[in-house]
Structure formats: structure tokens, C-alpha cells
């Protein structure tokens, strides 16, 4: 009896190991594993190719003159100085507008916007819609809102467009970070007699400082690389110009204008600008990542 059972078990085991089913499962697993490794490798290779193209073409164009000279006609030894300065000014101004607004809105959503506050849930949804709205439409919107009534393009309009892009990012991170602050902290503050605004600003915001700063930095990274909303708002400028009511140059728009040109030195400058922008954006992201780990 038991011998036959053992034999049967052995036979079953053999069938299992040699049989079609196990074999098919193994082969399927191999195929899936191989395909996924291939997909991963392909993606990594493509992304490396982008970085390589940027570095190999961009490094040659980066010199002192690139940063200090203003843009100029082809062959005149122009640089990207005014575009870099314009980008910094517009991003800074946009940040000055977007940071308080986004911060306050995020505070409202987290501290006053409970489950039953319909106004808050609408605002939350709208902010998410804005975050994923096509950036060129934001450019169109600001064109109609600011540029058309004024009658001319301006650096200020560009800054407003960038601010609209940045607000939803700051709102989302502020709200998420404030929600991480434990309720007991708020209760402790209230028990000590602190009014609500004091609890929010001095306790919650202070303990969520790191995360909120991260959101603001990410918003800066997003603004720094955006081209589409600036096309119809700050337009671009070939000369040094610090006036906010005049068209102002910016690095992404300069890249856009130069990359499609048929002059070699302009294309070279476009690649240098692309390398500068990518380095800046990646640097901000790496700083955020390192500080988050700590």
C-alpha cells in the first residue's frame, strides 16, 4: 500500500517537474522577467542618451561669454546673459507672488477644510485641475488678462503666468505637509491658550517647515523650465532689460528661438542654455531629495 503511494507521489513529483505546466510557468516567468529587464534597460539607455546629447553638445558652448554677454545677432559672439538674468527675475517675482498665496491657500485647506467644508473640497479639486492644466493655456489666459489690456508684452505678465503655474504645486505640498503635523500638537498649543492663528503659524507651519520649503523649491524648478506660458507673455528680448513693463528675455524662450535657427552659433547657444537649465532644475531636485533624507 504505502509503497504504491510512495511510487505515485514520486511519479507525480516527476510529472510536476518535467510536465508541461511547471515548465510553462517557468518559461512565462523567464519571458516576463527578461522583457521587463529589457524595458528598464531601454528606458535607462534612452534617458542616458538625452543626458549625453545635452552634455556633449552643451559643454562646448559654455564659456564666460555665454553667461556675461547678452543675446545678439548670429556671428557676433553673443551670449545668454540677459536671458539668464530675465529668467531669474521673472522666477523670483513669480515666487514672491505665488509663495504667500499658495501657502495661505494650503493652510486654509488643511486647517479649515474638513470633510464637510464643500468650499474647501472645490478649491482642492480646482487646484489639482490647475496643476495639470496645459501650460500653454495658462499663457493664453494671462495674455488676455494682463497683456491685452496693457497693450504690450511685459516681464511682469511672464511672472504672473509663472506664478499661476507655481501656486497649485505649493498648495498641494503645503496641505500635505500640514496634515502630517499631529493633532496633539495643535491641542497642546490651544491648551496653552494660544489663538488659532498662533497655533497654525508658530506651531504647525514651523514643524512642517522642511516639507513646505521642499514644495516651494519644486515649484521653482517647475517654473524655471517652463517655456510655453512665457511665449505670449514676456515674449523674449535680445538686449539687457530690467524693466518689468517691457518684454523680457528668459532662458527657455531663448532656447526655443535659437534651437530652430539655422546659424551654428545660435544652435550651440541653445544647447548651452539647455544644459544650464537642466543642471539648475536637477540641482534643485537633488537638494530637495538630500534634505528630505536628512
Amino acid at each position: 500500500m504505502s509503497e504504491t503511494a510512495q511510487q505515485m507521489a514520486r511519479a507525480a513529483k516527476q510529472r510536476w517537474h518535467q510536465g508541461g505546466r511547471a515548465r510553462r510557468r517557468q518559461i512565462l516567468d523567464r519571458i516576463a522577467t527578461g522583457a521587463s529587464i529589457a524595458a528598464g534597460t531601454l528606458l535607462v539607455l534612452v534617458l542616458l542618451s538625452i543626458l549625453w546629447t545635452l552634455l556633449s553638445r552643451g559643454l562646448a558652448g559654455i564659456s564666460w561669454a555665454t553667461i556675461t554677454h547678452s543675446m545678439g545677432p548670429p556671428g557676433s559672439g553673443g551670449g545668454l546673459g540677459n536671458a539668464i538674468l530675465g529668467s531669474i527675475i521673472q522666477t523670483g517675482l513669480a515666487l514672491a507672488m505665488a509663495a504667500p498665496l499658495g501657502l495661505f491657500c494650503g493652510i486654509y485647506l488643511s486647517e479649515y477644510g474638513g470633510k464637510h467644508n464643500h468650499f474647501a473640497s472645490v478649491v482642492r479639486f480646482v487646484s489639482d485641475v490647475l496643476m495639470s492644466a496645459p501650460s500653454i493655456l495658462i499663457g493664453l489666459f494671462i495674455y488676455q488678462l494682463v497683456v491685452a489690456p496693457w497693450g504690450h508684452f511685459s516681464g511682469f505678465a511672464g511672472a504672473v503666468a509663472l506664478a499661476v503655474l507655481a501656486v497649485p504645486v505649493i498648495v498641494r505640498t503645503t496641505e500635505d505637509m500640514l496634515r502630517l503635523v499631529p493633532t496633539s500638537m495643535r491641542e497642546a498649543g490651544a491648551a496653552l491658550g494660544a489663538p488659532r492663528w498662533r497655533v497654525i503659524l508658530s506651531l504647525c507651519l514651523r514643524s512642517a517647515r522642511q516639507g513646505v520649503l521642499t514644495g516651494i523649491l519644486l515649484a521653482v524648478a517647475r517654473m524655471g523650465g517652463e517655456t510655453a506660458p512665457l511665449l505670449f507673455t514676456s515674449l523674449g528680448n535680445q538686449t539687457w532689460s530690467l524693466r518689468l513693463d517691457k518684454p523680457m528675455a528668459s532662458l527657455p524662450v531663448a532656447i526655443y528661438q535659437y534651437a530652430g535657427a539655422s546659424y551654428d552659433d545660435w544652435v550651440q547657444l541653445a544647447w548651452a542654455g539647455a544644459l544650464l537649465i537642466t543642471c539648475g532644475v536637477l540641482m534643485i531636485n537633488i537638494i530637495v531629495r538630500l534634505s528630505a533624507r536628512r
Partner: protein
């Protein structure tokens, strides 16, 4: 008997409390007004075109500034087709990479590559446009198009789809560039979603003798299905509204046809190129606004879908 002494400053503090509440509320209202203003301005701006052409605005293929006749079919078709191609290419790439990073690769390799992929999701889109313009366009023009033109010219359905002058720009090229742009983003979200599957489920499946693929297919994928679709829809939203990456590589011709390799245009690229030439108050500007409004609706719809799917899982 008097009550406990009330601090002198309490009235002022209460006033400040109301003030700050109002401030926070007003900022939230402002955010609401921004989006409201955006949608209203698009709708009123596009109203002229929509009333002039009616619903035929959406099935007219000609975009003719000379005759002042505008139809949205060509750019809408370009947007939808390039997005579909981008998704078809990006989904397997992102899914495979996420599967590799979460289940197969060693922890150290996964950390390095995962971080790199997340960082690259933040690279500005104009960089992808330039890369496509200087790398993919010549590649397609020099190798891919002559090859398919030679071998598939008379193929049954593929023939008309693949033929075209070897310029290199077109829906296919922009689909490829968009795929490369959204794949890191989708991968990053998918890695997060896969990581949220309870380890207990996964380990039990391995304990029962399941292979890696079976764990993926029968445990992780059903568990995180909504999250995966949400990631894909978010990527789709990005591809729909992308301007800079597409404008470089699509060729910018408003025409309708079967070929995937002929130059076309998308809603966003058309707006970027034609807006500066459109005088204020013209029918052309209004048509562009109507296009923008349609794009806004598409992007809104994709977000709503992504949200519903995410909400259902929680």
C-alpha cells in the same frame, strides 16, 4: 465673586483670529477664481468661432487663414493620435521598468535607478523637444522611413499608415518623444503604487510557490490596478497638453490623413505657432481659443477619471 481674570489681549487675539481666517479664505477663493477666470476667458474667447462654425468646427479638416475658415479636426486628431502612440509606447516601458525596479532588481540598483528616473521626470519638456529634434528626427528620416517605405509600401493596412516623405517629423516622431517624456513619470508613480501593496500578500504568494510573474500578474496588478490606471491617465494628461516637446518634432502642417509619418500639428503646437500671428478680435484668434477650451476640457476630464479611480481604491 468675579470670574477668572480675562487677559486683556484676548479681544485683540480674537480679532486677529478672524483676520487670519479671512486671509486664508480669501487666498483659497483667489485660487478658485484663477481657474474660473481661465475657463471663462477661454469660453468667451472661443465663443465667436463656435457660433460662426457651429458643431462643424469639430469635423472640418481645413485650417485656412486665407479663406478665414477654421476646423478643429486636424489639430485634435494630431493631439489624440500622438497621445495614443505615446501611451502605447510608454505603458509597456513604464510597467516593465516598474516591475524590474520593485520585484527583480537588487535593492541598491533599484534605489539608484529609481532616483535617476524620478529626477528625469522633472527635466523641462523643451529639453525633450530639442533631443527629439536633433536625435529622433534624423534617425526616423534616415533609417526608419526609408525602411518602412521600402518594405511595407504595398502592405494591406500598414501601407497607407506608414508611407510618407522621409522628413522625419510627424505624429509618430512626436509620439516617440512624448513617450520618452512621460515614461519616467509613469514609472515613478507605478513604483510607488507597487510599493504600497502589503508585503504580507506578496510573501504569501511566494510562499505558495508562485513565480515572480505570477505574483505580479495575480497579486500586485489586481491590487494596484486603479493606481496604475491613475498613473497612466496622469501621464496622458501631460502628453495631451504638451507644447514644447511636440512643436519641435511634429512638422506643424494642419492636414488630415492616414499617414503617421507625415507632418501634422497638435492643438498645443498650433496655438504656440499661430497665436502670435493672429490679430486681436479675429476669427482665427477665436478659433484658437475654442481649441484651447477643448484642450482644457480634455485635460479636466482626464484628471477627473484619475481622481475617481484613485478615490475608489481608498
Amino acid at each position: 465673586m468675579s470670574m477668572a481674570p480675562v487677559p486683556r489681549s484676548s479681544k485683540r487675539q480674537l480679532g486677529l483670529d478672524v483676520l487670519f481666517h479671512a486671509l486664508f479664505w480669501a487666498s483659497a477663493l483667489l485660487v478658485l477664481l484663477i481657474l474660473g477666470g481661465l475657463i471663462v476667458l477661454m469660453a468667451t474667447g472661443g465663443w465667436k468661432a463656435l457660433t460662426t462654425f457651429g458643431l462643424s468646427f469639430f469635423d472640418q479638416s481645413s485650417w485656412n487663414p486665407v479663406k478665414d475658415r477654421y476646423g478643429a479636426l486636424a489639430p485634435l486628431l494630431g493631439t489624440v493620435l500622438s497621445t495614443v502612440i505615446a501611451l502605447l509606447l510608454a505603458i509597456p516601458l513604464a510597467f516593465g521598468t516598474a516591475f524590474w525596479l520593485t520585484n527583480i532588481a537588487s535593492a541598491r540598483l533599484a534605489a539608484v535607478i529609481g532616483t535617476a528616473v524620478q529626477l528625469l521626470a522633472a527635466v523641462p519638456s523643451i529639453i525633450f523637444g530639442m533631443w527629439g529634434f536633433f536625435t529622433i528626427v534624423p534617425l526616423v528620416a534616415r533609417y526608419v522611413q526609408p525602411f518602412v517605405n521600402h518594405h511595407f509600401r504595398h502592405a494591406f493596412i500598414l501601407g497607407p499608415l506608414l508611407k510618407g516623405p522621409p522628413i522625419g517629423t510627424g505624429v509618430m516622431t512626436s509620439g516617440i518623444v512624448l513617450a520618452v517624456m512621460i515614461a519616467p513619470f509613469i514609472t515613478a508613480v507605478m513604483c510607488d503604487v507597487f510599493g504600497a501593496v502589503p508585503p504580507m500578500l506578496r510573501e504569501s504568494a511566494y510562499g505558495l510557490g508562485a513565480t515572480r510573474w505570477e505574483v505580479m500578474r495575480k497579486i500586485i496588478a489586481p491590487w494596484s490596478r486603479n493606481g496604475m490606471i491613475g498613473a497612466i491617465v496622469l501621464g496622458m494628461g501631460r502628453a495631451l497638453g504638451e507644447t514644447m516637446a511636440v512643436t519641435f518634432v511634429i512638422g506643424n502642417v494642419t492636414s488630415v490623413g492616414w499617414s503617421l509619418f507625415a507632418p501634422r500639428s497638435t492643438v498645443a503646437s498650433l496655438i504656440a505657432l499661430q497665436f502670435p500671428e493672429s490679430p486681436a478680435g479675429s476669427l482665427r484668434l477665436s478659433s484658437l481659443m475654442a481649441l484651447g477650451f477643448t484642450l482644457m476640457l480634455l485635460s479636466c476630464a482626464s484628471l477627473v477619471v484619475a481622481r475617481c479611480l484613485r478615490g475608489r481604491r481608498q
